[in-house]
């Protein structure tokens, strides 16, 4: 029975939709019958026919109202009126193409920008990593860094309490020189342990991955290549398996090709076995470790296990350098995206503010239009439309607007995501995956739909409520076109403009802080002369240059060959590019106390350079002398900051230090004499001057040399003559390296470009936030202009009277501008207060600027004030030129 009842109700509810006219006719008939009988009854009581009819109508209370009530009762009618409303809404929009275009475009910008940023957030932060059961893949790290030594990893493997697929990949082989049949190429190579492929579920399209023997120390040298490399270097050769390639001077046999669907992090072209030696004495921390939590094992359990193992390792390995033994197990996704999370969330917040501004603008447009529609609404109300019905109708208009805004916005977003990808810093995690997102996925589309609904309510509800409160009688009485918006409407619009100005202030403050931070990063002296410098990088990782004598020899060859190129003034080689350095080294000063909890005196930046590095980069010598071409005993030059930090009162020149104490016999370099102090250079653009030790390759331990070659790419820095563009010698330099040494020269850039690239993330944030702030400023300007034009129009008569009573044009101009100023100042005050509170979120992204930077908080309000006055200027001029005679006749 329940079903029948349901069916019947459904039929009744659908009927009005399907046969609306029939139902309406039924209603008419029914009520007419009632009225007829009632009239007859009244006549029988002695009324005149007209009187009788009227009395009958009064007793019914208005035919149209009753019909409207009955329609409302028939819930099915709800849908019917919705369709009707939407049809009507569309008609209204078509009749006002200018208004519609502006509103839809504004909304599309807001929705599109939000969707695009959300698509990025979705891929980077929300979407699971592209691995099977990726939520169970964890990263192991310590509070002081994410890398471990080979003995540590081997110990964990032997004492593993139950974490699956414990897998290490070596950070120390990031790029290698590949020589095969084609041109030499600098490839992203990665030494990985046996379980790596199983952990990440990498599938192969050909061949196999390593076996246990191949991952043993001394095992066969085999390689698995990525699909991209296979296509690029080997032209997709189907008989690649079993072929030998030279990687860093070592022959490797290709045994497998990975499917293109496998996306490794970090990006990798070629995988070779780690071949970790459990008996190794190598204490360098270069391994990143991932594992899989077995089902049923929680993160905190795994944390406790790993911490216990870490402790045991420290107790059983006194060789260890000391330091933090608390191991942290965190989800891989968190580890991968942790450092961009806050920036992305800030961008999402900022773009949300832009949408809010867009909504305020459209709401303002609707309110402006509402003034002209008051009469229409009054007529509707008189014909029996209830308030909720009116609001519903006005909202369906807004919904139609938002819908078109959403459609156009999705298109904008599609283009926007591509734009973001093109602009995104190359180290934005998971950008690769985003590139493969061709369609906007359901979550993103759902987000857009949500935005459409929310915006429709946001910008539509306020004006709709305002408008539906229309005073019926007053509106109908008003004459002509000037159905007054009334003070309420004006107040509503003022509130909206105040909100707009406030939001613009917030975005502008954020953008200004980032601009000032950018200026601080790029404005301070670098400590060297970056102009006319060309840089390129080669890889010395691998067996070919594993001895420091070989590296020394190669460096000399490169320098002399490059310096022979016409236009080149000087050249130098360094173990790391300036402004990108992260390569550090521990050292001891004999007789000095160790760092608390560690077995060394200090940990500073370390550069292995060619002797004339300082003159090529124009780094000044401050004390002692520079490095020499011939070095009978190990020598070092240190930076000013290092001298001040470790020898605050004494002269460091002539002192001896130990480089790499306790790292192992092939790493340690006892007794290096400091021969000079040079000027500070900044190791990175977003940090201050760093303490640095410079040495030539001549006496470096072979182990340390191999470590450095693996960790970083060897930088070649070329200074060209005055007035000669550095890039003009790029091709020659590349040819010299490739032809003579078989080294692939990667990333040929000017030093200026290196600087820009090194702050790519900050630049990206700055660009986006700047763009949002510019849009915000524009929208706020339009808002102020709109409300002032409206206000002047409303006051035409008043202005006319004032002019007639002798107010000068100057007075009128002044008072109009003052009105604009008052609105703006309120918005400014609100905006500055909120900004003060919000800009703290930017703290992590700022360099050399405090979040409460006074110049920012002074200049932004001034800028906005200027913009507000500019926006009010045109309406104010119009007010000034009001002709009293015309104005008084106005109405």
């Amino acid at each position: 029975m329940g079903f029948y009842r349901w069916l019947r109700t459904l039929q009744l509810r659908l009927r009005p939709l399907l046969r609306r006219e029939n139902v309406d006719r039924d209603l008419d008939d029914e009520l007419r019958y009632h009225l007829d009988l009632k009239t007859e009854e009244n006549i029988a009581r002695g009324m005149s026919p007209e009187e009788a009819r009227r009395a009958a109508q009064i007793s019914l209370g208005g035919v149209e109202q009753v019909k409207e009530q009955i329609r409302a009762v028939r819930t099915g009618a709800w849908l019917g009126t919705l369709f009707q409303d939407i049809r009507f809404g569309l008609r209204m929009l078509r009749k006002n193409p200018g208004f519609t275009a502006v509103a839809v475009l504004t909304l599309a910008l807001g929705i599109g920008a939000n969707t695009a940023i959300f698509a990025v957030v979705d891929t980077v932060l929300l979407h699971p990593l592209p691995y099977p059961d990726s939520d169970r893949i964890v990263n192991i790290s310590r509070s002081e860094g994410g890398t471990f030594s080979i003995p540590m990893f081997a110990f964990w493997q032997q004492n593993n309490p139950g974490i699956n697929d414990l897998s290490a990949d070596d950070d120390g082989s990031a790029s290698m020189n590949l020589v095969s049949s084609g041109q030499p190429e600098l490839v992203k190579a990665r030494k990985v342990s046996l379980d790596y492929f199983r952990l990440f579920g990498a599938s192969l399209i050909m061949g196999r991955t390593f076996n246990t023997q191949e991952d043993q120390p001394g095992g066969q040298q085999v390689a698995v290549v990525s699909y991209g490399l296979w296509q690029r270097q080997f032209g997709g050769d189907p008989s690649i398996l079993g072929k030998t390639i030279a990687l860093g001077g070592t022959p490797y046999v290709v045994i497998g090709v990975v499917s293109p669907s496998f996306i490794p992090y970090p990006a990798t072209d070629i995988w070779i076995p780690l071949q970790a030696d459990p008996n190794s004495t190598n204490q360098a921390h270069t391994l990143r470790v991932y594992a899989r939590l077995p089902s049923g094992v929680t993160l905190s359990q795994a944390n406790a296990w790993m911490t216990a193992i870490g402790r045991r390792y420290v107790q059983t390995h006194p060789m260890q350098l000391g330091g933090d033994d608390i191991l942290r197990v965190i989800p891989m996704q968190q580890q991968l995206t942790g450092d961009v999370r806050s920036a992305l969330v800030i961008l999402l917040g900022a773009v949300g503010l832009v949408l809010l501004l867009a909504c305020a603008n459209v709401a303002n447009l609707l309110l402006a239009r509402a003034t002209g529609r008051q009469k229409e609404i009054a007529v509707r109300a008189a014909l029996g439309a209830g308030r909720s019905r009116l609001v519903r109708q006005l909202l369906s208009e807004s919904l139609s607007l938002a819908f078109f805004g959403g459609i156009l916005g999705l298109m904008f977003a599609w283009a926007g995501v591509r734009g973001l990808l093109a602009l995104a810093p190359s180290d934005l995690p998971r950008a690769q995956e985003m590139a493969s997102v061709t369609a906007l996925n359901p979550l993103v589309t759902g987000f857009t739909v949500l935005l459409v609904l929310t915006t429709a309510v946001l910008f539509g509800l306020f004006p709709a409520l305002q408008l539906s409160r229309t005073d019926l009688v007053a509106s109908l009485k008003e004459s002509g076109g000037r159905a007054g918006g009334g003070p309420r409407n004006k107040r509503a619009r003022t509130v909206l403009v105040v909100a707009q100005v406030a939001i613009a202030v917030i975005l502008l403050c954020g953008a200004t802080l980032l601009i000032r931070s950018f200026a601080a990063m790029h404005g301070i002296g670098l400590g060297f002369d970056p102009h006319n410098l060309l840089t390129t990088e080669v890889s010395l990782a691998g067996r070919a240059y594993s001895k420091s004598a070989e590296v020394d020899q190669l460096a000399r060859q490169i320098v002399s060959r490059v310096e022979r190129i016409p236009g080149v003034e000087s050249a130098a080689v360094s173990s790391a590019l300036p402004l990108q350095g992260q390569q550090d080294m521990i050292f001891n000063i004999p007789g000095r106390p160790m760092v608390e909890g560690y077995k060394f005196t200090g940990d500073v930046q370390w550069r292995i350079v060619s002797p004339h590095y300082f003159s090529a980069l124009r780094i000044p010598l401050l004390a002692g002398r520079l490095l020499r071409d011939v070095e009978p005993a190990p020598e070092a030059v240190i930076s000013e900051t290092m001298a001040r930090k470790y020898w605050p009162k004494a002269d460091p020149v002539g002192q001896n230090i130990v480089i790499g104490p306790g790292l192992g016999p092939t790493f340690e370099e006892p007794s290096v004499e400091i021969v000079g102090v040079v000027g500070d250079v900044r190791a990175r653009l977003d940090s201050g001057p760093a303490p640095i030790i410079y040495e030539t390759p001549m006496h470096i331990g072979d182990g340390a040399m191999a470590l450095v070659s693996g960790l970083t790419r060897e930088a070649i820095i070329v200074r060209t003559g005055q007035g000669l563009s550095p890039m003009s010698v790029g091709h020659e330099v590349q040819r010299a390296l490739e032809a003579d040494d078989g080294l692939a020269a990667a990333d040929i850039r000017t030093m200026d470009q290196v600087g820009m690239d090194s702050t790519a993330r900050q630049n990206f944030n700055l660009l986006l936030l700047g763009l949002f702030a510019a849009i915000a400023l524009l929208l706020a300007m339009v808002g102020v202009y709109g409300v002032m034009s409206y206000s002047v129009e409303q006051q035409t008569r008043e202005i006319g009277i004032r002019a007639a009573l002798g107010a000068t044009p100057g007075h009128i101009l002044g008072s109009t501008l003052l009105q604009a100023l008052r609105i703006s100042v309120v918005g400014l005050a609100v905006g500055v207060c909120v900004s003060f509170w919000l800009t703290r979120l930017l703290n992590g992204q700022l360099f050399g600027v405090k979040p409460s930077d006074p110049p920012t908080f002074i200049s932004v309000p001034l800028i906005l004030l200027a913009v507000a006055i500019a926006a009010a200027w045109i309406p104010a001029r119009r007010a000034m030129h009001v002709d009293p005679m015309v104005a008084l006749r106005h109405e």
Binding site: R5, R13, D26, H34, V66, V73
Partner: protein, 111 residues
Amino acid sequence: MSKPADLVQGTLDLLILKILALQPLNGFAVSQRLKQVSGEVLQVSDGSLYPALHKLEQEGWISAEWKITDNNRRAKFYSLTRLGRRQLEREAGNWGRLSAAISRVLRLRET
């Protein structure tokens, strides 16, 4: 003419159901009958009668049918459905309990 007391929420439905339980009627007749039987005490405005009738039809308690009346006019006649009869019993029971309770309260004497 004093304003008739507002009907307690939902009682109009009960009255209509009861009247239709006796015989199928059209809207005008329902309105007449309401006045008759309540001795003009309950003056249900015709404006609220029709929405109420349509609501009851929506609920499935009454059904409507176009018929020719005695004086040869087309009119919409409402009749009680089986569901409506059950609803009437339930509502009447509720009403009885409610009015009995209220009467008891009103009979309380000050002591």
